[in-house]
Amino acid sequence: MGTWLALVASLNGLAAGAFLLGAFGLLATRQMLGCVRFFRLQSLALVASIFLIAIGMRVPDLIAVALLDLAIKPLLIPWLLRRYVREELFRRREIDQLLNIPTSLVIGLTLTLTAYFLAGVLPPAAGAMGNINVPIGLAGLLLGAYTLAVRREAVPQLIGIFAIENGSLFAGIAIAPRLPLVAEMAFPFDMLIIALVIGILTRITHERVGTTRVGALATLREGAPK
């Protein structure tokens, strides 16, 4: 039994590594399609971790949560985005970032280190195998927020939000694995509605403003010319 648990725990460590890799990938890729792929990778790592924690800590409810997350995050959300956001936007490279990618990676590294220290403020994980989830989830949250801040395109910004949510869940699952099932079921559905609504909003933005470079949206401010 001991070796079995050790195996599950080390697999969870692998999932955490993949999760962090996904977060850095979101930061580093210039292709919009690449953004979606790294988001998929990150979500799959999240699903794997939920599944492993369900086994390791014996919380059968979490298996249902993992299945629902599997259906919604890596599959349904990218499909919805493909459906609502024009194809040509997906083929594009993003050239307009606030900071260049090497600088972003260095900042990302600093954020990850910060997350390790900040994790001490949060309550510890419910079981020893989840210990790694708290700092990695927090790093995912910070990296997602940073991605959101430096990206200037609609789709990467939206994925930045999902990355923040992924980070919250990745840490949260380990801290409170026995959250009521109804609530845990509500989270992914919420994300689904967000993807739908913002996908449509992206299309409208493209139609009305002629670009999805949302960084260029700056007509509303104090003292703006009429």
């Binding site: 949060l122 930045g160 939000i161 109804v182 919420d190 403003v209 949302v214």
Partner: protein, 480 residues
């Protein structure tokens, strides 16, 4: 059971609104559902104020004092805004857009009604997210590039806040390990003394940052003036009047929990964050160029005032906080109805383009003047009384620095609002701003102005005893 009916009404209205059966069906259904829900909510609030419990599902869907006040405000502003929409949205020629507007309107009201009656924090998070999502379409309704831009900024910043707050709610659930209580607001208050303080404090800070973005607390307020100026006016009334309050209510739920813990100084956080918002907003009010943005910044200011009042501590300050919540919702929704009427009359949002409104359109001019004076906090209107009660409780509690700063900021905002109003309402009308034909304001707009304006005057002179009881129960909820 009553609570389920209250939730079902806007859902039914949303479905009926979506049916393509004539242009009058959607507004009538919406108004009917809103009026019915005001009656039911009023009855439920009175039951709560009388000391009884209104429970639909124990530990999940319940109504307590604080929730009852917020529920009542959502229902009331939901009704006046539905009435105002009648004439305001009728300009929209495309019937499909009209139906979409009302369907989304009802869903938005539904989600706002759900927040105060849910007592399980994780579900509250979901409901708050829904209020954000359902409002996106409504903000972008005018479909101009500016409206789309406002909707984009609004959705990105507030949904990001929601994703951060999610971690806070999960951390909060961790507190359940310290004892055997249900995961509800009341259960958390009982449990708080046993929970280690870092759990509660880290949860609170994550939620303060995350939901602070939705409330429009500085520095995450930048989306608020955009969204609240570009959305159609009835939606602005809902967003500024109750949506921000509904989210602030969730943050205020932490005041009794953290106070019960006894080892965390939540009051300090509330006062500092609140004062920063009031101060920045007061000085931004001075330089606005758009009168809807003027009222939007005033919302940021008032959210700060409420937070400061909640942080001052003590029964009198808590009463001041809930009193301010009530007066702000009623007055701010009126301000946006007045701004909407002005927009119908002169078709410009720019303060500089507006002169002598009182001659071009007396109704809009008087309404705008009255709304501005009321929200700035001039006596003897409602906001003045609640702000005064906050000052008094703060001085009694010896918070001299906080109250001194608060008073300075409120006075700056007061003169800022009056300065802009003076230049818009009085003076000689500009020749190009005068319409060729006299403006015909929709009857529903005038009716809304009377209905929404009456409580502001009445509450300034006299506090009905039933409302006083509701406020008292709400203030007790803040004390824990």
């Amino acid at each position: 059971m009553t609570l389920f009916v209250i939730l079902a009404l806007p859902l039914i209205a949303a479905i009926v609104s979506a049916l393509p059966l004539g242009r009058k069906l959607a507004p009538s259904a919406t108004l009917l559902a809103a009026v019915a829900s005001v009656c039911l909510v009023g009855r439920a609030a009175l039951t709560v104020a009388a000391g009884h419990r209104v429970v639909a599902v124990p530990d999940w869907v319940e109504l307590d004092g604080l929730g009852a006040l917020i529920l009542l405000l959502v229902a009331v502003v939901g009704t006046t805004a539905a009435l105002f929409s009648w004439g305001y949205i009728a300009r929209e020629e495309n019937s499909r857009h009209l139906r979409q507007y009302y369907a989304n309107y009802n869903l938005f009201v539904f989600s706002m009604l759900a927040v105060p009656m849910l007592v399980e924090p994780a579900l509250v998070w979901t409901a708050v997210e829904l209020t954000t999502i359902f409002a996106i379409y409504l903000v972008a309704f005018d479909n101009t590039p500016e409206a789309v831009e406002a909707a984009w900024k609004y959705s990105i910043l507030t949904i990001m806040g929601g994703a951060m707050a999610l971690l806070g709610f999960i951390v909060l659930f961790h507190a359940m390990r310290f004892g055997n209580e249900p995961f509800t607001w009341a259960g958390l208050v009982k449990l708080a003394p046993k929970v280690s303080p870092e759990v509660l404090e880290s949860a609170f800070l994550l939620i303060l940052i995350g939901f602070g973005a939705k409330v429009g607390l500085v520095p995450l307020h930048t989306w608020l003036p955009d969204a609240h100026s570009q959305a159609p006016s009835p939606i602005c009334a809902l967003l500024s009047g109750v949506k921000t309050t509904v989210v602030l209510y969730v943050i205020l739920r932490f005041v009794p929990i953290l106070n019960a813990s006894g080892r965390i100084n939540v009051d300090r956080w509330a006062i500092i964050v609140g004062l920063i918002s009031v101060g920045i907003a007061a000085f931004l009010i001075l330089q606005v160029t758009d009168y809807k943005r003027l009222f939007a910044f005033s919302t940021v200011e008032h959210m700060g005032i409420i937070l400061v009042a909640a942080g001052l501590g003590g029964a009198a300050a808590h009463y001041g906080a809930v009193y301010q919540i009530l007066n702000h919702s009623l007055t701010k929704s009126f301000c946006f109805f007045a701004a909407g009427t002005t927009l119908l009359a002169v078709d410009t949002r720019q303060i500089a383009d507006l002169r002598g409104l009182i001659r071009t359109s007396p109704i809009a001019g008087v309404a705008l003047l009255f709304g501005g004076i009321a929200i700035a906090g001039a006596p003897p209107l409602a906001v003045f009384l609640s702000e005064f009660s906050i000052f008094r409780s703060g001085i009694a509690g010896q918070h001299y620095i906080a109250i001194g700063l608060l008073a300075i900021f409120i006075i700056v905002a007061f003169f800022g609002i009056l300065h802009h109003l003076n230049s818009m309402v009085f003076g000689e009308p500009m020749p190009q701003a005068t319409p060729m034909t006299p403006v015909h304001l929709p009857l529903s707009s005038v009716l809304t102005l009377i209905l929404a304006g009456a409580p502001i005057v009445i509450l300034g002179l006299y506090m009905p005893s039933f409302l006083h009881r509701i406020l008292q129960t709400a203030a007790q909820g803040l004390a824990g």
